[in-house]
Subunit: 393 residues, 2 copies
């Protein structure tokens, strides 16, 4: 047998649909060419997608005849997903189309500490309100993706001992939401959402990416082999509690010593700047001080970058990513944090692992909400889900 | 729309084939039940697989009628794959059936330093000889999986600066093999093969597993989200060059300082045992000394376990595996190495990440060759590959 040509192109309707996810129109002839399928087979597989209304002919303004265009595209507006992010003191609920475009959003001051009943009731009522505003039927909302500021058991949608979320531990978020809206509910922690969003917006071709959030806490979202990695209990990416080389006697709130978060999180940096004689109170003072070129602040932020870089260089050895993105409030400290990270990672990693490695600052404050939408869309448009929908028709 | 039920069960022929990979027979009725597909759809999808000969009816010895059994199974003997491992001074070439069973093997003393021409010519001629012995046509050999003792760019099958493989750097292994045998050739490093093999043999349900090989060098194979992770340049799993907390002034052959391999690899342990006053020359002396309960040896091995555990606890935070398997010649030192690993990993990891974490000694010396077979079979039976084969019929 001659060598099998592997193209990763499968044949089911759901898998053909994946071609439309770039937002471009495709003709049947073009798909037949791309896949090597017979044109009649392509038709056979596309017909149910047309019937479902998930793809449709382009409306061609210049066409005068009655014949519909041969160019088909993903009908972004056929279905929508919900994308929600809860922060400590702030929340956002959005609707996105199937291409990942955020259609409409509501932002509000909301305390996560108000507990799940209050927060989720707010969320469902806002999503219904947004749907009504766009004139979209509730049964067109396929999936709701939710990011929360704490660890989650992703398979069940239950938070797992989240430190800043009283009342949320083990709460069945999907069950509560489904009492008011019938849609699949997926929950994950905010840093995983930021990783998915950053990749979707800025690095769609990248299969191996690490997103690090540096703020009061330090966390990461790991995309490896093209997939967000959650691990066995959903705790993957927990970089804040990796032990660093320096400061192994520094106590962390987790009960261990020498955790990265205890050494390079915002409170530790602020303490160090104070000790150096510059009085600042919070992260925003700190950012301010670096912008005013205060050497005490710059030095402390740069050292935090080096400490983060030490742990990231381990990530580079283990996972060989192409891109590391640094986000979170500390990343606003100009280039000082990233400079420290780069100094250590490039000094420490093997040439092969670092020759094509890029370390950049996150540019997207919208990453988290887009990530929640991407998580929802990936589920909604997964070929297995689509094939199931077609079977159920 | 009601919640979509996600079962990960797709509809193409290639995806239906995945059901047969457990080796059990299935009837069409049963598959219709499992998938929710109409029975006629199941038939439609299975027919090409029957025509290809990759599945077939069970031969039922008790049946007396002329009607073939309704029970279909994967015809293990329809096709075979090649599985090859090259060590520094030893090589093995095998044929495996599509269930992963090794059918026949040849082992030989072979120096990898003889270079690719000599080694690969040996390999192709042995594979042809094994095929002939089993009476299998060469065009039934679908894929050859090869494990080598060095880093490989998996996408091209070219070794990347392998330290103990003179003449192999950037050598196009698939091209050379294809001059003599037409089959897809996949190449990876031996530790990745050990990870795949160990999982296949002992932990088939596990999606997140780390295999660590401790010998002269230290390496790891990472399975995350069910997939072997290779990273952007194929260097993922390079745990031997992660910096440890201790001995940051110890020079490593890679040019850096404080690498795990320089501190906990066999040469470092042997040196430490010698310094403690017990004269030993090599790893086998070291294992011997631990078995004879020599305290100098036990102490040094246990400390190496702790140093390895330090880096593994970082892996646990980042990847949240269910299983860590310790293999390689040092793992034969009874429980002393593993005890050191466990001491640090369980002491260091967060409760959620370690509550279901198991750390075990590798039990399979055959892991590497089985892993090479698994890599080949996974490729051969991938639904995309199968769908392509069917299209080409």
């Amino acid at each position: 047998m001659a060598e099998i040509i592997r193209t990763n192109l499968g044949l089911s309707s759901g898998r053909l649909l994946q071609f439309f996810r770039d937002g471009e129109p495709h003709t049947k002839a073009e798909l037949a060419n791309l896949t090597g399928l017979a044109r009649s087979t392509v038709s056979l597989r596309l017909d149910p997608l047309l019937a479902l209304g998930i793809i449709g002919p382009m409306t061609d303004a210049t066409s005068t005849g009655g014949r519909p265009s041969a160019r088909l595209h993903l009908k972004d507006d056929a279905f929508v997903v919900g994308a929600v992010s809860f922060g400590a003191t702030h929340a956002q609920a959005s609707l996105a189309d199937l291409s990942g475009k955020i259609l409409v959003s509501i932002e509000a001051k909301r305390q996560i500490s108000d507990g799940p009943e209050v927060c989720l009731r707010w969320m469902t009522s806002e999503l219904k309100y947004l749907l009504a505003g766009l004139g979209i039927q509730e049964d067109r909302l396929l999936v709701i993706g939710i990011g929360i500021p704490g660890p989650v058991e992703h398979t069940t949608g239950r938070p797992a001992n989240p430190p800043i979320m009283p009342g949320w531990d083990a709460f069945d978020i999907p069950e509560r939401v489904n009492r008011e809206i019938q849609a699949k509910v997926l929950v994950d922690n905010e840093v995983n959402m930021m990783a998915l969003g950053e990749r979707f917006i800025n690095f769609p071709e990248v299969e191996n990416l690490i997103f690090l959030k540096a703020a009061t806490g330090i966390g990461s979202g790991i995309i490896a082999g093209g997939m967000l990695q959650r691990g066995a209990q959903g705790t993957a990416g927990d970089i804040g509690h990796v032990r660093t080389l320096v400061g192994t006697d520094v106590a962390c709130h987790c009960g261990n010593f020498g955790c990265l978060e205890a050494i390079a999180g915002a409170p530790a940096i602020i303490r160090r700047v104070n000790e150096a004689g510059l009085p600042i109170r919070n992260t925003s003072d700190l950012i301010d001080a670096t912008r005013r070129s205060k050497v005490e602040a710059i030095r402390a932020v740069r050292q935090a970058g080096r400490d983060i870089g030490e742990v990231l260089s381990t990530c580079v050895s283990l996972l060989n990513p192409e891109i590391i993105v640094i986000g979170g409030s500390l990343s606003s400290a100009g280039e000082h944090l990233i400079a420290g990270v780069r100094e250590v990672v490039y000094g420490r990693s093997t040439p092969l692992a670092s020759e094509n490695l890029t370390i950049v600052q996150s540019r997207d404050s919208k990453g988290e909400i887009v990530g929640a939408a991407v998580m929802a869309i990936d589920y909604a448009l997964d070929d297995a889900t689509i094939d199931q929908m077609l079977e159920a028709m």
